[in-house]
Amino acid sequence: MPETLTLARLIGGGAGHGRVVATRDHVLPLDAFARASSLGSHLARLEGRSVVLFVRDMAKAAAALIDLDGWARRIVLCPPGWEASRLETVVRDAEADAFALDGDDEAPPIPVEIAAPCRLPLEPLDAPRATTRETEWVLPTSGTSGPPKLVAHTVRTLTTAIADAPLQQWATFYDIRRYGGLQIFLRALCGRGSLQLGGDRQTVGSLLARFGAAKITHISGTPSHWRKVLMSGEGRRIDPDYVRLSGEIADDAVLEALRALYPRARIEHAYASTEAGVAFTVDDGKAGFPASWLETEGAVRMKVVDGALRVRSNRCALRFVGAGASALVGDDGFVDTGDLVERRGDRLYFVGRRGGVINVGGAKVHPEEVEAALNAHEAVRASRVFARQSPIMGALVVADVVLRDGRFAHAAGLEREILASCRARLAAYMVPTRLRFVPDLPMTDGGKLARHG
């Protein structure tokens, strides 16, 4: 049986000397974690627990992950900006008995046995501890307009895609609590360098200045992050060897613009999902990927079923967590990604999500949720929400609306009024950018709203 892979082993104790994970406000020295912790005296009680990590500060999340891996039974890594109202099903499904929280005087949003405050800088531990347990890492993903699905990984499934790395000084625009950012966090820990992180309310210019001062060599973000860099005019504050795009569809325009900005860098776009793990990276500078990869034998196998990509590899998640959770991996060992692909010539291109899920700058929008908000307006009889491609955000939300009075001439006043009522119910990125009033909506033979075409 192979030895358990833990973050402590990845960092390598004393070998971590001089290496840090840094945000604007905090610097975490990696070699300090052998004898210090962000959870202080609470750490002892968290051994073997199922801990929900619910903190605002990304540096605290990074510290608590290192503290708890190999020690807790399970870590649930809540994405940034989560409302406490989402936690009830998470605590139940993950059988959580502890919270790690931001502040000292903070009450847990749901009653659990232990509420541990997470503090920085690190506090010295009384005694060294053995972090040898295989901790389950649980990453919530947004389910189809229902409660979040909990995806189970281990450090091994999360790091299998990471090759042995020479000295890499990493930075990412991502939050490490999303799969793409977590990959970079783990890449940095596996390697021999440091990691620079962003955070809330910091401009892309200030991030680039800090990343440049830290002499980062490797950097990742979504295509939307990179478009912001291109528009900031501050892109040359960094001089990376390696530029990575993931989390959204990378188009030729953003790849070409990055090639022009960083002529000596290797530029790759990666395809990964929380459920399927990292499937591949593309480094030929073009959007999409070679269709021949579907035939390739190797660690990662892929196939297309009903237009959607399926992936089988040792990087895939283990299962969904929770009583009555559906199967994540099919009988054939493949994970259905729900990402639709289309063949043009000898390449495959991603064209969107099955079920019409719209990816607005990395945030997923379920059309049903937006339609419910539209339909709640008294003038609306029915609506169909869909994506329109955006060169800035990847996609934007638009909608066709059937009015109760049967009119379908454009009425700017009514459009404004309906959209204002949506804004009161939905996050800004979910509100349609434009309404089109139509006489009726296309239906499938089964009488459902047709989502495509």
Binding site: M231, G233, A257, P391, L419, A428, R434
Partner: protein, 97 residues
Amino acid sequence: MHLVINAVNSNSRAAIVSHRPAILAEIRSVAAEQEKTLAPLTDDLPLLDSGLDSLCFAILVFRLEDLMGFGPFASAGATRFPRTIGDLVALYDEALA
């Protein structure tokens, strides 16, 4: 000489039909809708300092495409990303010129 004449012609044509007023009006309308406070809209104002976030900017480009029937970002091989208000106006003006 021939080149110079061409350059002058295309400049003056662009100046006559500049999209600046339409673009500035649309920026103000998106900002009002999204409840953003705008900085004074001068040509050298960096877009990222204008008060519009990425979502606002995406909505702006979308609306301009509907309004003008084309989007300079959508054309194949377009690798210029505008930095300032002036750059943005120039992108639309050049696409038309």
